[in-house]
């Protein structure tokens, strides 16, 4: 990439400073928006450590025509305030934008209280709610304009990881980004594991396994056509996610295949009925067997047995 990479905060500032419609809120979590409060003045609102009120206030602002962009840790935003998200933002279909901090493995050493591993399941269960899970900060920045201008409530899995690829500049709601075509395996993934998936794909390719890599970007609406195409055209689907096995991408793929009465071989890589051992990200990935080389090895094992 040329020059300094555009951060989430800079991209957000550019959009919200130019348009009075936007109000930025937080429940005292400013990690992703350090400089914004001073620049935004009274259109920055900190309600204190009170996620239910945070979401209620956001709904009230939206009733007055604003588009609130709400920041809190993903666990507290999606769980402590769940009923407020569902009933105040979801039921009313208000353009409340919920930015969940440190989702999934990004909570690193915080421990299970901070591990949002059901956020996608919860948010996608709410009518009207959209779910955007960018692969890295560049992907997040590329999606921000469509997220903010959409009239629907949207949950965003915040992701500050550095991009390992050049993403497609066009980010459309509900459209996945297909990285590499391949007819042996498809890795379907979203969020923080994309970088590992990319590495795994290159390793598999070197082994002669033609691997398709899909960065879903949106879990709701999800790119059903791309998932069906992968199910038809490749021998094995891998669903890779830092989420519980229940309710996330694996479940979604299952629902889609069932709806279309299709069979597919699926290797799910996710957390089954457990939280992960808290540690720094690289160590978490290693222990969970989800580094690029480990993912490639697990896929190879399955391929050999097919």
């Amino acid at each position: 990439m040329m020059g300094e990479p555009l951060t989430y905060e800079k991209a957000l500032a550019e959009i919200v400073l130019a348009d009075e419609r936007y109000v930025v809120l937080t429940a005292e979590n400013r990690a992703a928006i350090r400089e914004l409060p001073a620049r935004l003045g009274e259109r920055f609102v900190d309600v204190g450590i009170a996620e239910q009120t945070l979401v209620g206030v956001a709904a009230g602002l939206a009733l007055r025509g604003r588009t609130p962009i709400v920041h809190a840790l993903a666990t507290f935003l999606t769980m402590r305030a769940f009923e407020f998200v569902r009933t105040d933002a979801g039921l009313a279909n208000l353009p409340v934008k919920l930015v969940g901090g440190v989702p999934g493995f990004l909570s690193e050493a915080n421990g299970p209280t901070h591990q949002a591993l059901e956020d996608v399941a919860l948010m996608r269960s709410i009518p009207h709610m959209q779910v955007f899970c960018p692969a890295d900060e560049l992907d997040l920045v590329l999606g921000l304009p469509v997220v903010l201008s959409s009239p629907h409530p949207t949950y965003i899995r915040h992701n500050p990881l550095q991009a390992v690829v050049e993403h497609s500049r066009t980010c459309k709601i509900g459209k996945a980004e297909v990285f590499a075509q391949g007819y042996d395996v498809t890795i379907l993934t979203y969020g923080a594991l994309f970088g590992q998936a990319y590495q795994a794909r290159n390793l598999l390719q070197a082994e002669g396994i033609l691997t398709r890599l899909v960065n879903l970007r949106w879990l709701k609406p999800v790119d059903e056509a791309e998932i069906l195409r992968a199910a038809r055209q490749t021998c094995l689907l891998v669903t890779l996610e830092d989420h519980f096995l229940t309710g996330g991408l694996y479940t979604l793929v299952g629902e889609i295949l069932l709806r279309h009465q299709m069979m597919a071989c699926v290797l799910p890589l996710a957390l089954e009925e457990r939280w992960f051992q808290p540690a720094l990200l690289d160590d978490v990935l290693e222990r969970e067997g989800l580094t690029g080389p480990q993912i490639a090895g697990r896929i190879l094992d399955v391929m050999r047995g097919m």
């Binding site: 204190g48 206030v57 956001a58 602002l61 007055r64 609130p68």
Partner: protein, 279 residues
């Protein structure tokens, strides 16, 4: 203010409107029933607020400078439906569709109805929402007043107190919380279950200013609401002492007259009682 209120003795005019609202509430309980006890306790409050205090009319619903009323104790919605009919926001014939699947006049409010600001039913939601509305009015330098009517049992929910802290921190003196203090939860007296008193001191400690009134006296309500905001830079809380089932002697202060189903004949008998026994 409604022009008719200027012409006649406004208090008598309000009493009459409140009686008609109570009649409508009782008729709404025919068949499938509704939350009559709760509706009767806040009927005078809603009549007072819509007919005399708030700048909300059929013609200004799209005006960003108008006032707002959020009914947080959503189950008391029969009082809201009936009041909205009385002030001309909701066509009277819509009430005939109560609980009919083809309309949306059900046991809790929803904002598809003209004059209903937001859906409610889950307690402790509309104070936070109203804080957001009040915050936006302040940002836009508006003079709107944002009223939230809460129950007293509803104050068990912590989100109300979170919202008070936030409202006080943001100096929202355009926010008015009206507590329908009928001293009943769904099943028990509040003081027998989760005591709320001293309620005024609780709100004061959370950064609000309070005033306590008889919620069935239009003269007292008039004096209290004329004194708002109670303090510049602070939310006002009007603790309105009320009686569950007010106006219908057989229903007053009875825990088992919260949700009530009536036959048409029972409703007409109670309405006759209402007409005889004052309001």
């Amino acid at each position: 203010m409604h022009p008719r209120a200027e012409m006649e003795d406004p208090l008598i005019w309000l009493e009459e409107m409140a009686r008609r609202v109570r009649e409508r509430i009782l008729r709404l309980a025919v068949g499938g029933g509704c939350f009559v006890g709760s509706a009767l306790s806040c009927a005078d409050l809603l009549v007072y607020l819509y007919a005399r205090f708030l700048n909300v009319t059929r013609d200004n619903l799209d005006d960003p400078a108008r006032d707002y009323l959020f009914l947080s104790k959503g189950h008391a919605v029969p009082a809201l439906y009936a009041t909205l009919v009385e002030v001309g926001l909701l066509p009277a014939e819509r009430l005939e569709n109560h609980l009919q699947p083809d309309d949306s006049i059900y046991w809790h409010p929803n904002r598809s109805l003209p004059g209903v600001e937001f859906h409610a039913g889950s307690l402790g939601h509309l104070l936070p929402v109203a804080v957001g509305v009040a915050l936006d009015c302040k940002m836009r330098r508006g003079r709107n007043r944002v009223v939230v009517v809460t129950g007293d049992g509803e104050l068990n929910e912590g989100s109300n107190w979170e919202a008070c802290l936030t409202a006080a921190a943001h100096r929202l003196d355009n926010l008015i919380v009206v507590v329908d203090r009928n001293h009943f939860q769904a099943n028990l007296r509040t003081e027998a279950l989760i005591p709320l008193e001293p309620l005024d001191l609780k709100f004061e400690a959370f950064g609000c200013r309070t005033i306590r009134v008889n919620g069935h006296s239009f003269a007292e309500l008039d004096r209290a609401f004329a004194s708002l905001p109670l303090s510049f830079g602070r939310p006002s809380v009007v603790i309105a002492d009320t009686v569950r089932g007010q106006g219908v002697p057989g229903f007053q202060e009875r825990a088992d007259r919260w949700f009530v189903k009536l036959t048409a004949r029972e409703a007409e008998e109670l309405i006759a009682e209402l007409r005889e026994g004052g309001r």
